[in-house]
Amino acid sequence: MNNAIFYILVMAFVTYLIRVLPLTLVRKEIKNVYIRSFLHYVPYVTLAVMVFPAILEATASPWSALVGFIIAILFAYRGASLVSVALISCFSVFIVELFLY
């Protein structure tokens, strides 16, 4: 077996293990209110930490990204769908960059 393929398989194995263990081992509904609450807050924290400040480095300029960020927050706040928020933030980045360059 080629060396790179071996590396890739090890990476895939480790990554799948992390993903599969909780979902297959935790098969009951957890009653403990603190664990339930913790899991309730998990998505908000992980996703918020991931978005900011990384979003500012996602595009060609931090300014276009900042505009995209603000527009996305506004539209998400007003209840726009996932798809529209994603598209509108892309579009605003595109427009801002037309002016920047």
């Binding site: 080629n2 790179a4 393929i5 071996f6 090890v10 990476m11 895939a12 480790v14 990554t15 992390i18 993903r19 599969v20 909780p22 979902l23 297959t24 935790v26 009951k28 509904e29 209110v33 603190y34 339930r36 609450s37 899991l39 309730h40 807050y41 998990v42 998505p43 908000y44 924290v45 992980t46 996703l47 918020a48 930490v49 991931m50 978005v51 900011f52 400040p53 990384a54 979003i55 060609a60 995209g68 960020f69 996305a72 927050i73 539209f75 998400a76 706040y77 209840g79 769908s81 996932l82 798809v83 928020v85 994603a86 598209l87 933030s89 892309c90 579009f91 980045v93 595109f94 960059e97």
Partner: protein, 237 residues
């Protein structure tokens, strides 16, 4: 059966922005994979089997430097450990009777974005919804890699730049609506972002990898929030 198809379709719909964003990111991944000396088959194989951005980018560096296999495994473990928490959270969002077979397939698709759209569905999460998201997100990720490695820089930079924000916009659309009018969630989101910025800027904390940072902040903030503001009833809406 009808509900399953409907769930699958609604998954596809929300998977489309993910697929677009993945295409842009994995296109860049494909270009870098070529520079790291991978052939198109290896790069696509990596994207198909790993389905993770940060882990794969780190993997390229390690493969190019012929790192020890233990180091490769440990790096993936650290970078991707956030999936453990996501998988744990999802275990409480699906029907407890969901078969092991569904659990095994759903687990493969746990990425930041697929997780994001999956936890945001109201009521119990159907595996078919997750499959719908995966059935566009996985091809987006894999094809982006393929095009990136065989074509090099053909996508106009303006387009990749604009598409690169799609995933972030989508994640915001996941966390913000439930926080509307909810002071606790707003506080949780704002403090997460502020602390994330502190971790990124403070010289002492800068050396912490993003994977570790996510885990530390999640355990800290979600842990404190759970103790101070325990949720009595599950209020996923």
């Amino acid at each position: 059966m009808k509900t399953n198809i409907r769930e699958w379709k609604s998954g596809i719909k929300n998977g489309i922005p993910i697929a677009m964003g993945y295409f842009a990111v994995s296109f860049t991944f494909g270009i870098l994979a070529k520079q790291a000396g991978l052939n198109p088959f290896e790069a696509v194989f990596m994207s198909m089997t790993n389905l993770t951005s940060a882990g794969q980018f780190a993997g390229l560096t390690l493969i190019a430097s012929a790192a020890a296999i233990v180091e490769v495994a440990l790096t993936q473990l650290i970078i991707n450990s956030r999936y453990f928490l996501m998988s744990f959270a999802l275990s409480q969002r699906i029907d407890p009777n969901t078969s092991i077979f569904h659990r095994l397939i759903m687990a493969f698709g746990i990425t930041d974005e697929v997780f994001g759209v999956s936890v945001s569905v109201s009521g119990k999460l159907s595996p078919y919804y997750a499959y719908g998201v995966m059935s566009v997100a996985v091809p987006g990720w894999t094809l982006g890699t393929l095009f990136g490695i065989i074509s090099g820089n053909i996508l106009p930079p303006r387009l990749t730049s604009a598409l690169s924000i799609a995933l972030f916009g989508m994640l915001l659309a996941v966390i913000i609506p439930p926080a509307k009018g909810n002071k606790i969630l707003t506080g949780v989101i704002v403090s997460s972002m502020v602390l994330s910025l502190v971790f990124a800027e403070l010289p002492l904390l800068q050396s912490i990898s993003s994977g570790v940072k996510i885990i530390i902040l999640t355990i800290l903030i979600a842990g404190i929030a759970a103790v101070v503001f325990p949720v009595k009833e599950d209020t996923y809406e």
